[in-house]
Amino acid sequence: MTERSHFYWQPLLLLTILGFFTLSSSIAQAARPQFEIEIRGHLFYPSELTIPANIKVKLIVHNQDPTPEEFESYELNREKVIMGGQKAVIFIGPLAPGVYPFFGEFNPKTAQGKIVAQGLGESFRAAE
């Protein structure tokens, strides 16, 4: 084994990493039903949002406060920082029917809410 034997690993590694990332970034975006939530005074409006179950929806969170907030939900596996006065796009679902709490991590005492997924996917899609 020569001293240089390890050098052929570097291009191979680079390729693997690049390949991995290209694989991850296959774009498949269709039009999603859209829902909006506002943050005002460290509170969510509405604090309870009903969405159709079993399909993916686009949630737009509009932070009207001057302070940043982090939309966080362990149940939804979602986490996103939203700067003051900014809108954030968060895709959620498809969810099984049920209740999924979320909260504002920076102000968890007041900023609490929940997503209610209802098994009415068909009627919601018809209304679009």
């Binding site: 390890h6 590694l13 991850s24 993916k56 737009i60 362990y74 920076f106």
Partner: protein
């Protein structure tokens, strides 16, 4: 307010502190200098402040998923660097002095990427104090406690690793870094699912009744091995593949380089 800021800061610090302590222990084992750490932290802190101040613009890029994509890029970079680091670590173990500078650059870049990612959130959280001067002392106090706890856990891991004999330390750090690598790539998957670049699916299982993600143990395991109570099949698949890929590359490197081991006596005579 105080407890909340402890938790927020601790969550972010913990991930960086665990990576940092493993790499610092490695630096000691390989008898390298700690200078890379200085550069890594300087670049990382600057990056965090830049990311934090530019977040509004980053977020609205790519149809509102710029934040997810940039995080995914930073985590992919860190994952790739972890592979390079562990491979060079094994090579160095068997033949001292090979690609030491590349190893240090890789460690510095990995730490800088992680600090940028985790630090930006801390910066944003603390920047809110501008609007809430009445919360200043309790948030700052909580932040210091969070940093303190995070670094204490990091220090604990560092000294635990140093207590291993050199031969076992290599295996232990490789296993730990492979777990950290899997956790990092799992986060990439999560970001891309959130951005709708990867399909979302129903969770494969739900262990939140057994170990909630917001418990202390849950948070610690999240930082170290990427614990998630309700992972989707795709996430589990990506997690396992990213760890398997890393483990296979490390095994091949070990297999190729273990023959290079020169007995100490011969080395002296030569």
């Amino acid at each position: 307010m105080l407890l909340n800021s402890v938790i927020i800061i601790l969550r972010e610090v913990l991930e960086a502190a665990l990576l940092l302590s493993i790499l610092m222990a490695m630096t000691r084992f390989l008898q390298l200098r700690f200078r890379w750490l200085f550069f890594a932290l300087m670049v990382g802190f600057s990056g965090a402040i830049f990311y934090g101040t530019q977040l509004a613009a980053i977020s609205s890029a790519y149809e509102g998923v710029g934040q997810e994509l940039l995080n995914a890029v930073l985590q992919t970079l860190a994952y790739g660097l972890l592979i390079i680091i562990t491979v060079l670590m094994i090579v160095n173990h068997y033949k001292v002095g090979i690609s030491e500078s590349l190893l240090q650059v890789a460690m510095a870049t990995a730490v800088a990427a992680t600090v940028t990612h985790e630090g930006s959130e801390i910066f944003i959280y603390l920047s809110a104090l501008r609007y809430q001067p009445e919360a200043f002392s309790s948030v700052l106090c909580g932040a210091l406690l969070g940093v303190g706890i995070g670094f204490s856990i990091g220090a604990l891991l560092y000294y635990l690793l140093l207590s291993f004999p050199r031969r076992h330390a290599l295996l232990v750090t490789c296993v730990l870094l492979t777990l950290v690598g899997g956790a990092m790539y799992l986060q990439v998957a999560r970001e891309l699912i959130q951005a709708d670049w990867l399909p979302a699916e129903a969770p494969l299982w739900d262990t939140s009744w057994l170990l909630p993600e917001d418990s202390i143990t849950g948070q610690l395991l999240y930082a170290l091995i990427g614990y998630e109570a309700t992972p989707s099949p795709l996430e589990v698949f990506i997690y396992l593949v990213s760890m398997l890929l890393m483990a296979v590359l490390l095994l091949i490197t070990w297999f190729v380089h273990r023959k290079n081991k020169v007995p100490h006596v011969v080395q002296l005579a030569g």
